[in-house]
């Protein structure tokens, strides 16, 4: 396996007033291997989503380095970052963020048309394939108001996959879904991952995280610990085992955090 994504001392802080800095990420080192399924957990405000957006080039980091496919992101122009997002990355959001003025199918194919790497007919074929795979082909010309949350998230996944990205970033993709839809979406993501696409998710949900290969735990802007769970076969029994293993580890992680008392971060009282 080769490394697809790597961060070195990645920091992000916001200015508050004239002198104070609010540090959201504090020198985060992270490495994701090609084909891996990684989740990031941690309490609210720990910096999970900020990490996701900074390592994906969606947001500009304050300091440190991020390498994606050996390209250093801070050195790339706005245009190159856009190209990267368009052709090599896919994003799935909790709020889904579909364009209201487009039909469901148009939302999916838009990035494909924009990319221009494939003929538009092939983009349409690919969209058809993805919609069939996710079971939403009958909704192709519907408005976004005519679909359920689960269906919309499938549209979001199809959209993320239309340009065959190397990595999918997900920010709480199941956060707003009921448990049935949530497990369907996870199944889809596992299928995508099996086909070779790297997946990096941020989640609160240990059930979701337990299905990934590796779980990172964040606290106060740093990855404080991680656990490798290995490949998930999809077996129900195995799922229960992984969940309980993760729960135990999370309890430990909490203790570990308290014990570790990351002094420099906690003194940044502005951060909560």
């Amino acid at each position: 396996m080769s490394t697809i994504l790597q961060s070195e001392k990645l920091s992000k802080y916001y200015k508050i007033g004239t002198n104070n800095l609010k540090k959201v990420l504090n020198e985060v080192d992270l490495q994701v291997e090609r084909g891996e399924f990684v989740t990031i957990m941690g309490p609210s405000g720990s910096g999970k989503s900020t990490l996701l957006y900074n390592i994906s080039g969606m947001d500009r980091m304050s300091s440190g380095r991020v390498y994606f496919n050996e390209k250093e992101l801070s050195g790339l122009s706005e245009k190159s970052l856009s190209d990267l997002r368009l052709n090599e990355m896919g994003f799935i959001f909790q709020q889904i963020h579909l364009l209201k003025n487009l039909s469901l199918k148009d939302n999916i194919i838009l990035s494909g048309y924009l990319s221009g790497r494939r003929h538009r007919k092939d983009v349409n074929k690919k969209a058809q394939f993805l919609m069939e795979m996710t079971g939403i082909e009958s909704l192709a010309h519907n408005d976004i108001t005519q679909a359920s949350g689960g269906q919309l998230q499938r549209v979001g996944i199809c959209r993320a996959l239309i340009n065959d990205p190397e990595i999918i970033f997900g920010d709480e993709p199941t956060g707003a879904l009921d448990s049935k839809s949530s497990s369907e979406i996870m199944q889809l993501l596992r299928t995508i991952n099996k086909s070779g696409t790297t997946v990096l998710l941020v989640t609160h949900d240990s059930k979701v995280a337990s299905q990934s290969d590796r779980v990172l735990y964040m606290e106060d802007g740093q990855i404080v610990t991680e656990i490798t769970l290995g490949r998930f076969s999809g077996n129900k029994k195995e799922a229960l085992e992984r969940e309980s293993r993760l729960s135990e580890w999370l309890l430990k992680s909490d203790d570990h955090v308290k014990d570790a008392a990351i002094a420099p971060l906690l003194t940044e009282s502005v951060y909560n």
Binding site: S49, K79, S82, F93, N101
Partner: protein, 780 residues
Amino acid sequence: MLLYRILSKDLKRKKGTMAGVFVFIMLSSLLVSSGSRLIIELNNSLEHMFETAKVPHFVQMHSGDIDLKKLNKWSESNFLVQDRQIVEMISIDGSALFLNKGPESEENSIMDISFVRQNKSFDFLLDTENRIIELLPGEVAVPVYYAEQKNVEIGDLIRVRSEAKEESYKVSALIRDAQMNPAIVHSKRFLLNDADFDKMRQNFDQLEYLIEFRLNDTGSLDKFTNEYLSAGMPQQGPTVDYHLFKILNSLSDGMAASVVIILSILLMLIAILCLRLTIITTIEEDYKEIGVMKAVGMPQNRIKCLYLFKYNLIGAAAVISGYLLSHSTDKLLMANSMLYIGRAPKGLFLVVGPILSAASIFLFIMLSIDLMLKRIQNISAARALQEGDKTEVPKKISALRVSRSGNININFFLGLKDVIERFRVFSLLAFIFFLSAFITILPVHFLSTISSPDFITYMGIGKSDIRIDLHKTTGIEERFEEMINLIDRDNDVALYSPLVTSKFTVLDDTGHSESLMVETGDFSIFSLDYLSGRAPQNNDEIALSYLNSQELNKNIGDVLIFQIEGNNHNMRVCGIYQDITNGGRTAKASLPHNKDKVLWYTLCLNLKSEVLIPSKVHEYSRLFYPARVSDLDNYKSQTLSNTITQFRKITIIAIAVGASVAMLISYLFLKMIINRDSERVRIMRSLGFSLRQLKAQYLTTTLILLVFGIVTGTIFTNTAGQAFISYLISFLGAARIRFIINPFQTAVLVPVLLISTVSLTTAISVNGIKEYRITASVAE
């Protein structure tokens, strides 16, 4: 305190926009104050000048002998007459007058130049202080027209050359001549000391008379005119009256004042549009806050007051600033009227009028703001708090699905889709672009029309290379015959047509006789464009100018009764043409001319193609002295030069206004739109749309709207605009103006100007989208 905090926060947030709104309201107030002041001042000053100069109510110009006994007897017996006088004028040819030190005479001038002495009882010639001019021997007073057009200044020497000798006079005053002030009046009076006048009379034998009357009541002017003309009083020359003097004097400034006021109303509407866009954006930005205010029980009126106070304060400050500033711009606007007419002592209305006009602007803006803020009522507290989203989902058109975009560039397609699906929202911008195009193209078209040599069509003149005018001189008929013979023999001449203008008596529908100025000759040689019908072809046909046809109430096929040598002669109207010369009241017939009442002789000619027109003009000027020889373009540009210069200025201003309006409104509108589209922009950026591509989408949208605006604006200008201009000019004698369009200006210059302005503005206004990142909406 709360109000102050909200106000200062909002002003900081929208500095640029509020400054724009402020400037527009201020300009609107400035223009309306200045425009109304100009109208009031013009009216007052004109009255003042007319009173000081004791303007005659009725003037008959006359060349030839006067039967004084008969005239005196008739005048004394007419109870309408309050006072009368006969003004002697020494008519000199332009070639005898040298205004500047150089050898250039006024040979090419189209003005009828005459020298007079100061009148004793009325029709006084005034100086620029509106004082009756008194001159010493050797001094001359020169019409204001020459000060403006030929830079003649007090202290200059002018020379008058007769066959016998040359005399110099020192300019000691500029004349305000209530009768002949405006440039469109082709007669100008120079004033001499009585002794100098008598001396000059010995050198120039050509005398013309102004038979002037002041009446007891100007209301009976029409009655008096009829009585004068039907009593067989001297009438070899045009008849003019008090009303015409007033119209001619106030024409150019009155038009300027109207334009200024129309411009001010336009600016006010723009300010209101800007305010509307600003208020909508503010309310959309504050959507949630308004919801919270409502939820905590703040009364609706109180919330509305917070906004109302802010915008009214800005409106009031702008209106007051505009009014105060208008005092400093007055001089600029009134320069022309101050020079030609002067200023009357200030009255109360001159102070109150502009204040009232500015106040009406404020009132209108206040009411509009009140109406705009009604949308606060429609915000539901629950919806605002739950959804926090104020945008509506536009109706989708299936033909505009991305999947059906074929091979069209996706950013262009999205821009196009947006325009069509959200046309209701974008229609305002489309309307503004239409308006900008109209404001810009209308004056450009009109300017190219009046500047074009083809504008001669509206001056009742057929197209020819050279026009020779021979006014009343001794032995005029023989001179004219001689001229025809010479031209007939001249091998350089390809074509010529002699025309004679004389007065005929016609009977109107009620049987009253009227005098009609008729040009007679063969009108098939240099043909004229007729509004309807054609040129007269035989003795029984007559073509009327548009204004004459209106006043005589005669149309094609109607009969007009001429009294020729005591017999009635039926003339059928065969054509109606446009003519803005001679007060727009002329006629053309193939009759033999009325030898007793000849006004002037004209000869139009075309030269062979290899002959140079200017050298021929020069040759004929010397040969046919004192006839006035001019090429038609020179004739036209001299007659209209003032109007063209004024209009060029107006056109430049209009182009600047049109472009600024397009710029400002598109800036504000796009600011509002990108604020509404923030979510969409965030999503697109997360999908990989670059800032450049997103800007291209907005640029597509605005350019499609702009092209729509330019096309509809051009069509509207060429139809309704043309009709509007025709309506305005119809009062001067041309009822159907057809724009003579300069294709480069219309198809290239104006569109390129508007497109580059709007493109630049779009690029600047949508620059704010770089602040919209998906991370902002998911910030932890």
